[in-house]
Each structure stands twice: as structure tokens, then as C-alpha cells.
């Protein structure tokens, strides 16, 4: 059986700027794939490409293909792609404060998704909405459906956004930094809800995050992006125990951890380059401790490692 979502060598351009360069990803049903990297690394663009939403921001897939359940998104018509989103692909945005329509009651906003995509009647849609809210552990679901968005807290709004994403009974959920706008203790709740969905409903989750901690906690696989290219991709456990790419390693070690002595936290020097000034060769070389003269000239190819792949000229020897 083919993967639910598969990106093959996808490049994305907006105008003349090439922002994503040859990204390949695979996501199976019942799996969570973490997409990590600093701001400006191309995480959100990858998600937009996966949902066929690039035209919204004036972008296009300039090379490669995006396949959902074996179907090339490029071969679909616009209405077909729209039917896919909401029905088979649910989207959870970064900012729950602006994701809801302020002049519609909560219940109506969720109902419309299942009425549109599943063809349910008004009553059936409401029953489904109540069921979803209960599943998301929202107390007094019936009262919440009658509430207006401004009456709810941030964490509650994010749960509503998740309920909307689930209303069409999707096979894939794309979540773009779903917790950055929330408080620490609420973040933990939301992440646990998403993890439970994968576990219990068997949906696939594409989770975009900048937090390697979240990846370690709930993802099966992780793809690390840097400056529009894939740096490393593979199963979570081996990547954390033995990161192959220096960038992956740096991302893990810049999180302060329990028992770390002061002065041992190391950031990554410099900043992510903008798309107009990508360095030659390996795009990470100006910030890399391991960089040699070669790195500035040669673009490192993706080399298979374990069950994943990494792109660096100085990869450690594969473990025997």
C-alpha cells in the first residue's frame, strides 16, 4: 500500500524565488511526522504544498510531485482539491485567536464542515459536533456550541479548531505550530490531544513545530529542514540518540535540559539566511562547526542512513 502523503523531490517557488528545493517526505496512516527547523526554513511552505494551498500565497510547485493517497495533487482540478481539504485533510492553524469567525457561534462553525463534506443534515451535523467536542474533552459541549469565539480561552479555541479539522473525518491532519500561541500547561494538553487522535483514530498527523522536545514526545518520524532543503529525515529514536546532520544535533542541544550546568547551552551562531541570499554548497556551512572549504562548494546529496536519509559531506560512518 502506498503512503498516505508523499512528497517527491518537491521544489516550491514564489515568483522568481526558489524557496523549497527537492524535499521528499512520506507519511503513513497512523503515523506522526514532525517537520522541524527554525523560522524561515520552509516548514509552513512544505505544509502548504502538501495541502495544495500554495496558490493562496502566490506560490507553485516548480518541480517534483505531491501525492495524496497515490493521487498527484497537480492532476486534480480545483474543485477536486477543495473537496480533499476539509474532507480528507484537516488543517489546524498556528493562531486559534484568528482562525475562528468572530460573528458565528462555535457550533455553527463546526457543523458547516460535516454538512458540506459529509452531506449530513443539520441535526446529524450537530450531533456529530457534540460528539467531537466530547471526544476532545471539552466540558459542557452543548453550552460551548452556543458560545461565541470571544467567550472562549485560547486553549479552548484551539480545541475548537481541532474539532473543525476533524469534522470531515479526515485521514490526514496538518497542524502548523498548533501550540505556539498557548500557555505552557495548555500546550501540553493540546499536544496530548493530537497524539491521542493518531493513536485512537489512526489518522496521520503532519506536525510542524520548532520544538524538538515536542517531536521527541509524540512523533514517529521527523524531517529536519534548513533553508529550504531537507537536512535529515528518519525515525525519531535514532535521530535523537545519534543525529547524523550537525544541524539536527545543534537543534537538540540548544534546548535547556534538566541537570544541564550553566554555560553548557550552545546556540547556533548566525541566523537562517533569507531565500535571496542562500549560501553556495551546503546552505548550513556558514553556521556549522564542522564546515570545511569543500562544504562551501559542493551541495551535499541526501544519503540513506538507517531507515532515513541525511545530507552532509561529513556524515559519521554508519553504525555496524
Amino acid at each position: 500500500m502506498s503512503a498516505l502523503l508523499e512528497l517527491q523531490n518537491v521544489s516550491v517557488a514564489i515568483g522568481s524565488a526558489q524557496l523549497l528545493d527537492g524535499v521528499s517526505l512520506k507519511l503513513e496512516r497512523g503515523q506522526t511526522l514532525g517537520l522541524v527547523g527554525e523560522s524561515g526554513s520552509g516548514k509552513s511552505l512544505t505544509a502548504m504544498a502538501a495541502m495544495g494551498l500554495l496558490p493562496l500565497i502566490g506560490g507553485r510547485v516548480s518541480a517534483g510531485s505531491v501525492r495524496f493517497d497515490g493521487q498527484d495533487l497537480a492532476s486534480l482540478t480545483d474543485p477536486q482539491r477543495r473537496a480533499l481539504r476539509g474532507r480528507r485533510i484537516g488543517f489546524v492553524t498556528q493562531n486559534p485567536m484568528t482562525a475562528l469567525d468572530p460573528v458565528q457561534r462555535i457550533g455553527a462553525q463546526i457543523d458547516v464542515v460535516s454538512r458540506l463534506h459529509l452531506g449530513l443534515t443539520k441535526q446529524a451535523a450537530r450531533a456529530r459536533t457534540l460528539d467531537l467536542l466530547t471526544q476532545l474533552r471539552i466540558p459542557e459541549a452543548a453550552a460551548v456550541t452556543e458560545a461565541w469565539p470571544h467567550q472562549l480561552s485560547g486553549g479552548m479555541k484551539q480545541r475548537i479548531v481541532i474539532a473543525m479539522a476533524l469534522a470531515g473525518d479526515p485521514e490526514l491532519i496538518v497542524a502548523d505550530e498548533p501550540t505556539t500561541a498557548l500557555d505552557v500547561t495548555v500546550q501540553a494538553q493540546i499536544i496530548q490531544i493530537l497524539a491521542a487522535l493518531v493513536r485512537e483514530k489512526g489518522v496521520a498527523l503532519l506536525l510542524i513545530t520548532h520544538d524538538m522536545g515536542v517531536v521527541a514526545q509524540i512523533c514517529d518520524r521527523v524531517a529536519v529542514l534548513y533553508a529550504g532543503r531537507l537536512a535529515e529525515e528518519g525515525a525519531v529514536a535514532p535521530i535523537f540518540s545519534a543525529p547524523q546532520h550537525p544541524y539536527t544535533k545543534a537543534l537538540i542541544t540548544c534546548i535547556p535540559q534538566e541537570g544541564m550546568a550553566r554555560g553548557t547551552l550552545r546556540g547556533i551562531p548566525g541566523a537562517v539566511p533569507s531565500a535571496r541570499q542562500y549560501p553556495s554548497g551546503c546552505r548550513f556551512h556558514p553556521r556549522c562547526a564542522k564546515a570545511t572549504a569543500e562544504c562551501a562548494q559542493q551541495t551535499p546529496p541526501l544519503i540513506p542512513r538507517g531507515d532515513g536519509q541525511a545530507a552532509c559531506l561529513h556524515l559519521p560512518e554508519p553504525a555496524q
Partner: protein, 314 residues
Amino acid sequence: MTAPMLQIEALTKRFQTGGGFLKRPRAMLAVRDVSLTIAKGEVVGVVGESGCGKSTLARLVLRLLEPTSGRVLMDGTDLTHLHPSALRAARKRMAMVFQDPYSSLDPRFSVTDVLTEPFTVQRRPLPPGQIAEMLTAVGLPPEMATSHPHQLSGGQRQRVGIARALALRPEFVVLDEPTASLDVSIQAQIIDLLAGLRDQMGLTYLFISHDLGLVRYFCDRIVVMYLGAVVEVLPTAHAKPRHPYTRALIDSGFAPDPTRRRAIAPLSGEIPSPFDLPPGCAFAGRCPRASDRCRTERPVLDATTHPTACFHPL
């Protein structure tokens, strides 16, 4: 024990929302009866979630806001009742680094203008070569002096903000979530820089953050706030928490280690509105250990070496 640099005594700030037509004004205690002593050279962390009053506390300490009651003493001088001209002079000794590096620099100012401002304001001559020296100290190339904020990255702006705060060689610096709007990779750079500057200049820091992991890494002592009040003061960064809320905060962090996965979220529910607080412990509604007493009576910090405001500490 070294001499206290800063003494905060029963500081309280009450905010009132402007009532209007058919609307009664409502009051909330953003900071409620907070006392704290900070020794010279210490790094004290204040941690809590949104609405806990940590940023208000930061502004009260520097008297950017007027407290409703209580006082702040710096080296024995009462800042809260200082005359404006004396307060201006006192500002040379204290400084603040702000959270948002995008709005903390005037868009019309060049980096040189930003770094000259502390000297202009305090009517001090700008020593020759000072700008370049300050930029080097925060790890920026001196050529950046002519740049404008929009030409800099977030990390670079924050470095300029730090250079501005340290321009007049203050002794006490409040860091208000200085890395909250930066990438983790850049956050680590900035924390590294702040630690280095503290060692070089013998600074005392009050570090405000929502990230307990970061605070535990960077600070000597940690004040945990919940809805305006201090619920616990951890005497060392790695002391075992006694308050259930601190425990929950620690458990909410995501360890970057797939071999240590957690199954359940530590807390249900969310922070109640500061406008209508329950009569007892503010945390009672979310606390797994709460009893009837917690819901009716408000616990106060106990007088131990590890002060905790809880009837059922861990």
C-alpha cells in the same frame, strides 16, 4: 550572604478597567503582596504563565508603573517614593531588556542613535569609540552601527537591545522574556551572551520567563507566580518543587528525549480570569491535591528556606 541589591516589600498593583456606559468598572490585582530580596550578583528567575503578573512585577520593580502599595528598595534607597529627578539619576544603575525586539527599537533610529540615547537622556558625554566597543561586547560587528532596525534579524535586534540596556554600566538588569520571540537556536545564543556579560560586568539579573526549563538552566533562585501571587520560591534551580503548580509546570515541558515519553497531560483546565478569583487558593480549581480548605482559605508562603504557599505541599 552578600548585601541585598534589591528589596521588594509587599508590592501590590491593582488595575481597573474603565467602566463605561452600562458597564461597571472592574478591578484586578495583577500583582498581589509580592516580597523578594535579591542579593548582589544573583540571577533570580520569575516564572509563570500569561496573566500571572510577572511582566507587571518587572515594571513595578523599575518603577515604569506606579505600585498601588508596597515599596522597592535599591541599596537601601526607596525607589517608590523617589522624586522624579532623583529617579532619573537612579535609572543609570538599573536597566531593562524587553521581550519584543521588533517594537523595542524606534524604527527611525539607526543602531548608533539607539546606543547614543542612554547617554543623551542621562546628559553624559559619549566616550569616543564607545559605540563600536558596545557592539563588539554583544557580538555584533561595529559596521552595524549605521544599520536601521528593519535591516537586522530578530537576534541582532535583541543584541542591540542588550547593548542599550548595558550602555551606562548598570548594576541591576531586568530581563523581560528576552528570548520569547526568538527561535530556540537564537535563544541559546542570547542566553549565552547574557551569562557572559553577567560574569564580566558583575550584573544582578531579574529574569522573567514562561519557560521553566530555561529559568532552571539560567537562574540561581526561582520565584513561581500564579495569578498575581508568589506560590513558591525554589531556593536553588534544581530544588524539588513543593507546590503542585510548579510540579505541573515542570511536567508540561517536553524533554527532547524520545526514551522519556509522558502518557498524560499534567493539568486539566485553564487559568481562571484574574477578574473573578476564587476565595481560596487560586490554583485549587486545577489542582489534583485540592481539598475543601483550599477552596475557602487562601494559603500564604510559609517561613521556611523553601517558601511555598500550599496547604498540601509535595
